[in-house]
């Protein structure tokens, strides 16, 4: 018995000792990025603009040019050359791009003008991705002039022509994809082994666990400083945190996804990098009756009630407790990036007394003294839906529920599985929807969810104010006053209270301190990883592999 114990103890010790590093000298660094969702495919535009897909695709597929650091979509001269070496404006509706002759696909073929044309043509196919087709609708034609030169023509002069040309649809290898029918790309050998042109090439996928990319040492903009990028997938928040704390992962995009981010912040192994995000979250008021969407909502149809509810919430506390002290309370549907760019004002502070007064003046008082306001026998009871997978929104919903309870509003919170949440939201079967949206870097995207024309599309709450539509339309036509017009539109929306605009997070990225030259981008955080280096002498065992 005793001998057995000794043997057992010994084997536990050997097992518990970390496995010895199998060191070979090949590697010059590995970064392990831990992420919640697995990218379906790294091929841009073919599988929707999903954030998980983009993290990978932006390392494999370059655009003609990247947005300037502040994401100013209208600032043509400040775009950063990538596949395009230079560009020239021929007239107000024509742009010419000159491709970098050094740019090559991972299979060795040069990147040509035909690849650019091919990608835009695929993007314009309505049946593949209606929304993407909508984004490039104002490009009237793309033509190749020789192998290195591409001419874009637009339907009319407008402020964001350049952005539309380079941003939405990165070039695709026409020599590999032209013969694959657009419907069957997902099942093709290209999907299994995608060929890009960026700093990293596809290495392998272990489904449900990781995606590994390896450095493209012939990358024409410079040899990547790290030889491996691994996206480690862990659906569970705690598992993600434990991987970081346990030293098995190096980087994460938002430490506020963890309920107790100080653990990473105070850990000397990590450096934190603040980055305003493109995300904006709000509690959307349904303006139509969930039971019959042709009728106005019996409670929320009244703008005064919506305004009162917005006033009742202490948005400042909700945001700071969920997304940290540097995140913003947005006025209107603007992310932190857009709020800074538009210099939009801060929203009014919460005022529960006034909220109560407004509700009282609209006939909502506690007649039956049960603690819940009522009017004509109907209690002020509302249901808020949100995806059950979102911890942050759960935390905010719990706070909203309690704050509203104190002014006599009963908020029922209803976390839904994503496959239920999405159709519920789309068909307008909700009172309130705790939505989080990653915006395009341009305010012109506002017209999708906040214009009368968006009804039937992403404007699921039936918010419609013609004045906002006019402002947005004017902004897109006039580059000089665009910023002021966009700001006016946003402020008007906030005033109408179609939603309680809750959070515009500034994310804190955590990255292992052994990396230097760390740069991140707000529109695609990891796309500059190829510039990172491991500090000499601080290599971890996985860096040498």
């Amino acid at each position: 018995m005793r001998r057995a114990l000794v043997v057992l103890g010994f084997s536990i010790l050997t097992i518990a000792a970390p496995a010895l590093a199998q060191s070979t000298s090949a590697g010059r660094g590995t970064v392990v990025i831990v992420t919640a969702r697995e990218a379906m495919s790294p091929i841009p535009t073919l599988f929707g603009g999903d954030a998980a897909n983009r993290e990978v695709s932006d390392l494999m597929f370059l655009r003609l040019a990247d947005l300037p650091e502040d994401l100013a979509t209208t600032d043509e001269p400040r775009f950063v050359p990538r596949l395009a070496k230079s560009w020239r404006r021929i007239d107000p509706v024509t742009l010419a791009f000159e491709l970098d002759p050094r740019a090559k696909w991972h299979d060795g073929a040069p990147v040509t003008a035909a690849d650019v044309v091919f990608a835009i043509e695929r993007a314009r196919m309505e049946k593949l991705d209606g929304q993407l087709a909508g984004l490039v609708r104002r490009i009237s034609s793309v033509t190749a002039d020789g192998d290195r030169r591409v001419i874009f023509k637009f339907t009319a002069p407008y402020a964001e022509q350049f952005y539309d040309a380079v941003y939405h649809a990165p070039p695709l290898p026409a020599h590999l994809l032209a013969r694959v029918s657009p419907d069957s790309v997902g099942a093709s050998s290209f999907a299994a082994n995608p060929v890009g042109n960026g700093p990293y090439r596809w290495k392998r996928r272990v489904s449900g666990q990781l995606i590994e990319l390896s450095a493209n040492d012939d990358f024409f903009l410079g040899k990547p400083g790290l030889s491996r990028v691994v996206f480690l997938i862990a659906g569970d928040t705690e598992a993600r945190m434990n991987l970081l704390l346990g030293g098995e992962a190096d980087a994460v995009d938002n430490i506020y996804q963890f309920a107790n981010p100080e653990r990473l912040g105070q850990n000397p192994r990590f450096r934190l990098y603040p980055m305003p995000s493109l995300m904006v979250g709000y509690m959307l008021f349904n303006q139509r009756d969930p039971a019959d969407t042709t009728k106005p909502h019996p409670i929320l149809g009244d703008p005064a009630v919506r305004r009162a509810l917005a006033l009742a919430l202490d948005r400042e506390t909700i945001v700071r407790s969920t997304y940290g002290p540097s995140s913003l309370v947005p006025a209107g549907p603007v992310s932190a990036v857009l709020a800074t760019r538009l210099e939009s004002p801060a929203p009014p502070r919460n005022d529960t007394t006034k909220a109560r007064e407004i509700l009282g003046s609209r006939g909502w008082t506690d007649h039956d003294r049960d603690g819940v306001l009522d009017k004509d026998g109907r209690p002020l009871h509302l249901t808020a839906i949100f995806p059950a997978t979102s911890g942050a929104r759960r935390k905010m919903a719990l706070q909203a529920q309690e704050q509203l309870r104190r002014i006599g509003v009963e908020l029922e919170i209803q976390p839904l599985d994503p496959p239920v949440y999405v159709p519920t939201r789309r068909t307008g079967k909700f009172d309130l929807d705790l939505a989080a949206v990653t915006q395009d870097p341009t305010p012109s995207g506002l017209s999708q969810s906040w214009s009368c024309a968006g009804i039937g599309g992403t404007n699921v709450a039936h918010y419609c104010n013609p004045q906002v539509d006019t402002l947005l339309a004017r902004a897109s036509r006039s580059p000089e006053s665009a910023r002021k017009l966009w700001r006016d539109a946003v402020v008007t929306i906030e005033g109408d209270a179609p939603a309680i605009f809750l959070y515009a997070p500034v994310f804190l990225y955590a990255v292992d301190a052994r990396f230097e030259k760390v740069t991140l981008r707000p529109d695609s955080p990891w796309s500059e990883v190829w510039r990172w280096r491991v500090r000499p002498g601080q290599e971890a065992s996985r860096d040498r592999e």
Partner: protein, 281 residues
């Protein structure tokens, strides 16, 4: 009936396990019944930015959680919910199980065969899967429906147990003679068979209570059980999960509450089983 309850209590108390179990259980029940008026509002979030995740102190005996709510108050209120769900669900499943077991066992033939194949089939699917699916079907679950769901997926085992007992008792002299005397079926089932399966049924019931508490905690942990603002133990662990390192009290308190309750119920069940088991006497 009163008689048999008193007897059950006496024999349980006679065993050390039973004594420990009954004592803990009594403390929990009394706390759940009497304490709430003396505690803070379990829903109140007095100061989220500065008062969250405070360790135990004089004003919050078990500390506060991530929304600055009082953990003690939530554990005590959670006890009410957990016990109510357990009691309701078990009452339902035991009644269903006993009825179906009695009928199947007594009727025999194709009724019995069909019922038992259905029960086998249902038992071949893990109960958690069934519940996950039911939770998906109902997409949001008020407390009563939760009780119904847990109750309706819990009777399979009980019905087999009761059926086996009935098959055994049916062969005994007194049932045969009652049948020979032309007693009506319902009378035989309720007057002769039921009282005689009460013993094993009591044991199964007690043990089922523990299982249901664990199950409800698990469902709430997956975000599918009791919905806020009603506090529940599983929901508290779900909320506390990210803070398990920096604020262990937030998960320790509901965790221990679950462990103690389930333990006490199972101790009582085991003691009862020992007492009713002929081998032991």
């Amino acid at each position: 009936m009163k008689e048999s309850v008193r007897y059950a209590l006496r024999v349980t108390w006679a065993r050390p396990e039973g004594r420990i179990g009954l004592t803990i259980l009594a403390i929990i029940v009394v706390a759940a019944l009497l304490l709430p008026p003396m505690l803070q509002d379990p829903r109140a979030q007095p100061d989220i930015l500065n008062g969250s995740l405070r360790p135990p102190n004089a004003s919050h005996l078990l500390g506060t959680d991530h929304l600055s709510r009082d953990v003690l108050s939530r554990v005590v209120h959670g006890a009410r919910v957990s016990l109510a769900v357990a009691a309701g669900a078990v009452a339902l499943s035991v009644t269903l199980g006993a009825l179906i077991g009695l009928v199947a066992g007594y009727a025999g033939g194709w009724v019995d065969a069909t019922a038992m194949r259905l029960v086998d089939g249902a038992m071949a699917v893990p109960r958690l899967f069934l519940l996950l699916l039911i939770a998906a079907v109902m997409d949001h679950i008020p407390l009563t429906l939760l009780i119904l769901a847990i109750g309706c997926t819990g009777w399979f085992g009980t019905s087999r147990l009761v059926r086996a007992e009935v098959l055994r008792i049916r062969q005994l002299e007194f049932v045969r003679s009652a049948e020979a005397l032309g007693a009506r079926r319902r009378r035989i089932i309720f007057r002769h068979l039921l009282p005689n399966v009460l013993g094993p049924l009591a044991v199964a019931t007690t043990l089922a209570v523990g299982d249901v508490i664990l199950l409800e905690a698990g469902l709430s942990f997956l975000g599918l059980g009791v919905q806020p603002p009603t506090p529940s133990w599983g929901g508290m662990i779900l909320d506390a999960k990210p803070d398990i390192i920096s604020a262990p009290w937030t998960s320790l308190a509901p965790g221990l509450a679950i462990v103690l309750t389930v333990l006490s119920v199972n101790l009582v069940g085991e003691a009862l089983r020992d007492a009713l088991d002929p081998r032991e006497s």
